[in-house]
Amino acid sequence: MVKLNGVAIQGYGGYVPRYRIKAEEIGRLWGREKQELPIEEKAIAGLDEDSVTMAVEAARIAIRRAGIDPKRIGAIHVGSESKPYAVKPTGTIVAEAIGAGQNILAADLEFACKAGTEAIQLITGLVESGRIEYGLAIGADTAQGRPGDALEYTAASGAAALLIGRLTDDAVASIEAWNSYVTDTPDFWRREGENYPSHAARFTGQPAYFKHILGSINELLNGDGYSIKDIDHFVFHQPNVKFPLAVAKALRLEREKVSAGLISGFLGNPYSATSLLGLVKVLDEARPGDLILLASFGSGAGSDAYILRVLDGIVEKRERAPKLKDFIERKIYIDYASYARFRGKLRLR
């Protein structure tokens, strides 16, 4: 466990695209019954959206909340496994679109579903060391799932951004501690040039998701200062509805400590954005003084865990921009045909 010093979230933003497809509609094609489906519905990026546009949406909201001049941002790290360009940074497009300066660090990250929480680590390091004043940590994905594969029911679209700076009186939440836990575990991967990821089915569970999430949380809580019962909200990566609840059970958590951060049942799993969107939802609802434990999971495999303490600044700042609820509620249902077209599964050329 590493304790952080004087670093805080100054603004945060979550973005969920407007379109939803019911898992039932996907199941209709592949002969699945309702009780076999891992979630209720998932969010789908529109025809004109990708991880770049969603990252920009989330970043713009985070900046509005922070109320700072984007020229003060010194670094932008975007975590994604669905970059629209295999080669050409997402971070530079985000930087220009939000009006950041040019003497900044922009770098993209990839670590399956945990690239977004990695970005937090890099940004906090830069802020803590005094190399930058503010930095943006973004997770954004238009998650791909092969038609007919189990992943197709959950692979979703969304983005979340945290604007991180020095700890001040009006900060949203301080970032107090961090741990990361990685091993070489090939539970899920996508080879270069492939359109869809592959996975090792049930092997993604125990040796991958559970081992790494619990591994990083246990180490985080091993140090002095934090115990499970002090923590008010837990946010886990959630590839489906069952997995995060199983982690809660393993940690013997009361249901209300995890419920605020659960999104996959109605938004699906937007990969790099998933655990961050859970955090955004918790921040929308938390009270000053609350302690939050965030634990991501990225296949391949690893988990980043953080302890955050909600501060007084959240009360005013969260009202400055749309909340996740606003995006969750403005949904438009689409059928599989539109879904196929929006997500490029329909060959037009």
Binding site: P17, R18, G46, L47, D48, E49, D50, V52, T53, V56, E57, P84, Y85, I93, E96, A97, G99, E319, R320, A321, P322, K323, D326, F327, R330, I332, L348, R349
Partner: protein, 134 residues
């Protein structure tokens, strides 16, 4: 080549940044040498407001070739909150929301792609404004 043309215009396309004539206030989306309205040669860079209202809209069904894979799509005439009138595509609208006078906000979207190998040209489109307390 489309690349340099897009790159030159990216500030307007990404952030509605352009140039306003110091003497008559006319907006120019790329840096002019002479004001199109009054002939003045003095300008200041401005970032237009991102919100406004929809004055009129229509749907493009038979699109120019660069937009064929995006059709049908909506095009609207928007009056931004500072009074600037601007054309743009509309996105994420439901039938019920598509009304003259509707509040809209500019968001970044993919406008067109130069085939599967070419660059993606991002730019603003207008969607229904998401309300939140000021």
């Amino acid at each position: 080549m489309r690349v340099s043309r897009h790159w030159r215009n990216k500030l307007f396309r990404y952030r509605l940044v352009g140039w306003r004539c110091v003497s008559c206030g006319a907006f120019h989306y790329s840096k002019p040498l002479v004001c199109k309205r009054c002939g003045s040669r003095e300008f200041r860079e401005v970032e237009l407001p991102k919100t406004g209202k929809l004055l009129a809209y229509t749907m493009v069904k038979i699109a120019p070739k660069d937009f064929k894979d995006k059709a049908p799509y909506l095009v609207g005439l928007v009056e931004l909150d500072d009074g600037t009138k601007i054309l743009g595509q509309l996105t994420d609208f439901t039938k019920e929301e598509l009304k003259e006078g509707a509040r809209v906000e500019a968001v970044l979207r993919k406008i067109r792609e130069d085939g599967e190998n070419g660059i993606i040209e991002y730019g603003f489109k207008f969607r229904p404004e998401i309300h939140h307390p000021p």
